[in-house]
Every structure is written in C-alpha cells, then in structure tokens.
Amino acid sequence: MRGRVVTLATARPRVYVVEAPGGRYVRAETHRELDRRGWQPAPSPASADALLIAGTLPDPLRAAADVLWSQLPGPRARAEPTAVSSVPSTLDGLRACLRDRAGQLADRRGRELDEATRWVRSDSARHDETDHDDMDHDDMEMAPGGLVLAQGAPDRDGLEMDALRHPLGPLLDRWPGGLELVTTLHGDVVVEAEVTWWEPPHPTAPPQTGRADDLAGGWDAAATVLSLLGDERQARLARSVAPSSPEVGDRVLRRLDRLTRRGALPRTAGEVLHTALADSVPALISDDELVELVSGRDLGDVRLLVAAHAPLLQGVVDASGSLDD
C-alpha cells in the first residue's frame, strides 16, 4: 500500500529547472523532455520535488546553488546534466532518487546541516527571547531576524516608499542563465536595476549562428513567456515548433499577437517576439538597454520582458555555445 502511494506520488515529479550560464540548449531540451513525459516544471523551489541545473555552474555560484537546494522541502533530488543527450537519463535518475526511501530518510536526517535550516532556527530562537522581554521602543534591533530593513526613498510621485533590494537570478527558473539582475523595488515596481553576468566555468564552443538558430531561440523565448503567463498548453506548442511544422508556429504566433493586443503581455515584449518569429532578427540588447527596459516596470512585467528578450541579451549570446558532446 505504502509503495503504491509512493509510486503515485512520484509518477510526475515537479522539477525546478534552472539554467546555468551557457546552459540554454540543455535547459531547452529539459523542458521538451518534461513535455514528452507529461511532467510539469515547478514554479518555485518551495513545492518542487527535484532541482535540475542545466549546464555547469561556475564555482562562485555553487554555494548559492546549495542554498537553493536547501529550499526544497523534501523528499528531494538534484542533478546537473551538462549535455543535451544526457537529459532523459537524468530525469529517470531524479525519479529513482525520489523513490529511494532509505536515501530520502538519510537526506532528511542530514537537513540539520542545511544553511537555510540554521537561519530559520536562530530566527525563531531570537523571537522566543523577545517574547519574554517586556518590549521597549528603544532597544528594537534594526535587523529583525538578521534581515536588513528596507530604506525609504521618494517614488516617482514624490511619496515616500520602502526601497527594497531584490535580486532576480542568477539561479531562477525560466530565466536566462548567468544573469543576475539586482532590482530596487518600490512596492512591486522596479525603479533601478544592476546587471551582472556570470561566465560559464570553461569556454564553450563558438556560438551557433544562422537563421535556424535565431528562430529556435525565438520559439524558446516565446515558450518561456507563455509559460510565465500560465498558459502551459500554448507553451508546449511553442516548444514543439519545428521547421517542419509551420502551421503550429502560426497558431502560437497568433496567440501571442492576441495576448499583446489585449494587454496580457507588455507591448514591448509582444513586439520583440513577433519580430523575432515572423520578420527578422531584432537587434541585440546591451546591459544598459536591459536596465532601461525594466525600469519603471511591475515585477511580473520584468520577468516577461527578460524572457522575451532572452535570446538577444548580450551575455546570453556570448555564453551560449553548444554543450553537447
């Protein structure tokens, strides 16, 4: 009985897919393979069963990946496929690991050592202390729970807002590999941003060029945007577009245009996707232009805009070679 429940629970694990710098092809193949199996990607590490990092992380990001790993509630599995050809076996391995009860039990016992576990522990201990004290306004600590409080700043209407530094990436799902965008938020509006690119650990093969690759990048971006809009059905269609299936491409393109017209998609994002898929290759986006693009936008719009422009970002173009062996 217990075994049957475990089989049911792990029939379609949710995988949190993160693209490493230069890992675009492996990540795209991972999404296609998930589609073939009918698995759904996890929207956040909180509810994910498995963490999959597509490509090889540079050393400075390994510690960050461990923190991300500690966010998974468990039972959990982790893998870093580095080649397109190894994606199917990697996913099989993830599921096998989730079904391995002895292994999961051992992992659970080892969780005390997780960095995030210790943070939360020490935070609740601190809370218990303050609960017993008679509270006084004077001795409030300025960093409750070890979190530095947001500073105030006037927003565009001159009202005072909290200015919160909120990094997006470099380890984020449906996000270009290696991009770290540190935003300053007023509420959910991004007022400023800084761009950092993390380089792949070893030089990759020279970028593929040509119309076919540009188009593939365009469809990949379209699929990411549709998935971010919550439209997994159309996202699957976009991922399945091949040169041999122009009518599927037409359907997805019409859908994207309709979403842009209705305003479900920021206009800039809709236009760049349309250009990339129907007309020609849009111009590359420098880091300054990226900052310009996202400033003044809602946090959700920023995700959509970055996803739509992903194949055109300077850092992605520099880093993307084929990692296939």
Binding site: S47, D49, G145, L259, R262, G263, D298, G300
Partner: protein, 314 residues
C-alpha cells in the same frame, strides 16, 4: 415542555450527516474543477482525472517548510481557511427540501463568506514574508476591489426580482424563466466574481506564474494542497450558489430537485473551470479599468432594469 438541551442534542445526528454530505459535495465539485482545468490545459481526460489524486499523494508526502521571520500563525490561517469557506458556502445552497444552513438572508451570507476570502488570500501572501507572496497578496486586494462591487450588485438583481434574500425563495421564483436568461449581465458579473474569489482564469494575477505563483510561492506539502483544493472548492461553491440564484434551483424534468441542483452545479463548475483554463491571466491594471468603468455601470443598469420590470409588473 421538553428539556431544551436534549432537544438540541437530538438534532445533532441529522446536522452531522448534512455536514458530511456538504463536505462530500465540495470535494466532488473541487475535483470536477480540477479535471476540467486539466482538460483545458490540454491533458487527456484520464490523465486529468488522475491529476488531483496524484498531486494530493505527492504533496502529502512532501515536507512542510517555513521562511525567515514568517508570521506562521497568519500564514497558516490564510491557507487552511479557504476550504472551510467553500464548505460554508455549499451549506447555504438549498438542495431538495432545505439547505444545511437555511435562512432568510442566504444571499447576504454568501456575500459575507466570499468577502472572507479577501482576508485569507492577503494573509497567505503576507504571512510568508517573501517578495513574491506580498506582491500576490496586494494584487489580490486590488483585484478584489474591482470584482467585488460588480459581484455585490449582481447579487442584488435576483434578490429584487424575487423580493427576497432567501436563496430558496429566489430559486422558487424562477419557475417560468431562469434569471440567467433575463438578467445576463448580472449572471456574467457574478461568474467574474467567482473567478475572482477562486483566484483563477483572467483574475489569477495574485498567484501569477510570472511572480513565481505569488501568494503560493513559499507553500509546500499539505499547506499547498489545502490552498489548491480550496481554490477549486471555491470555484465549485461559487457555481453551486449560482444554481439557486440564476439557474432555477432544483427545477427540471424527471429527476428529483436535489439531483438537478447537484447536476447544474457540476456542469457550471466544469464550464467555469474550463473557461478559466483557457483564458489568459490578465495583468492587474488590465482588469481594474474594465471592471470599474464597464462592468460595474452595466450591472447597476441591470439592477435598474430588473427593478423597473418588477415594479411595473406587480
């Protein structure tokens, strides 16, 4: 004179049975919503039917987690409160002879319960102490201001037409013509409201995929399961309330009243969930304007038309 306490206790078994039936109906409606949602997302019917049990098993096996400086009390209240609200809504629906919670103010109670969702979703986003959660919670309150007023005025129309706030009386008043037919604007505004408090379809921005599922971002395991089930259940409960309000209650040929009520609720839930699965999630500001400047005036106009017809007809 009988012993008052004994009298109350004697009624307990019947009430308990009713509560179990209401709970069962909510679960069936929630499952219907989930299946229909899966079909809309392009999954095959058997796979869609297996989806809810498989996800339930997956999430029950998953551990719980918390975040740094989370307000766990408010967070859990927000999550675990959604499903009970749906059960209470179902208890208001007259099935057959009577509702589990009958009363002369059923319409107002339905409204009061859907307002409780305001508090719950915001608490869900607030409690997690994460950026995505807060964005989701605040988005929901903004949208709630947009969908709730049309919803309230939509509830007014059937109440005026039947001259009663009792759901059973409203249902009986539609023997000749369903209210959905002659007050379509109110019906549509009501359904938009249901999508709003079920946080689904075009009004799903508070749990938007582009902000890592917003208010749901930090939930895992059973805590996530009850929220997902709660959203589907709220959609089912909203559809069930629409049956006495707009779809003639238990009226229908051949079958008993109770069967018709359940059948209509199931069909409307399925249709609503399918539409929610097909329509794109709209950005918050894309919704605020049509909800306030188009839907709200239209619904008020609908109320006026209904009121004039009722006064001139009587």
């Amino acid at each position: 004179m009988t012993d008052p306490l004994a009298d109350q206790l004697a009624r307990l078994p019947a009430a308990a049975l009713g509560a179990v039936l209401a709970l069962g109906l909510v679960l069936v409606l929630a499952w219907t919503a989930s299946v229909s949602r899966g079909v809309a997302a392009g999954r095959a019917v058997p796979a869609s039917m297996a989806h809810a049990p498989a996800e339930a098993a997956r999430l029950l096996r998953q551990g719980r987690r918390t975040t740094l400086s989370a307000d766990r009390l408010l967070w859990r209240v927000g999550g675990w409160g959604l499903f009970p609200v749906a059960v209470l809504l179902i208890a208001l629906v007259p099935v057959g002879e009577t509702a589990l919670l009958p009363g002369s103010l059923g319409v107002v109670w339905a409204n009061a319960l859907d307002v409780v969702v305001w508090a719950l979703v915001w608490l869900l986003g607030w409690g997690a102490n994460s950026v995505a959660g807060l964005v989701g919670g605040y988005r929901f309150l903004a949208l709630a201001l947009g969908y709730e007023l049309p919803l309230m005025f939509a509830l007014v129309a059937p109440a005026i037409a039947a001259s009663s706030l009792d759901l059973a009386v409203v249902a009986d008043a539609q023997s000749s013509l369903w209210y959905a037919v002659w007050m379509p604007v109110a019906f549509v505004a009501y359904l938009v409201g249901v999508l709003g408090f079920a946080v689904s379809g075009p009004l799903a921005a508070p749990v938007g995929s582009e902000v890592s599922d917003g208010a749901l971002a930090e939930l895992s395991g059973p805590d996530l399961l009850v929220v997902r089930a709660g959203r589907h259940a709220l959609m089912g409960a909203g559809a069930a309330i629409a049956v006495p309000l707009f779809l003639g209650g238990g009226s229908g040929p051949w079958l008993p009243d109770a069967v018709w009520v359940v059948l209509k609720a199931l069909l409307l839930t399925g249709a609503l969930a399918w539409a929610a699965g097909r329509l794109p999630t709209l950005r918050t500001h894309q919704l605020m304007e049509p909800l306030w400047t188009i839907l709200l005036p239209l619904v008020v106009l609908q109320d006026l038309v209904v009121a004039v017809l009722v006064v001139s007809g009587s």
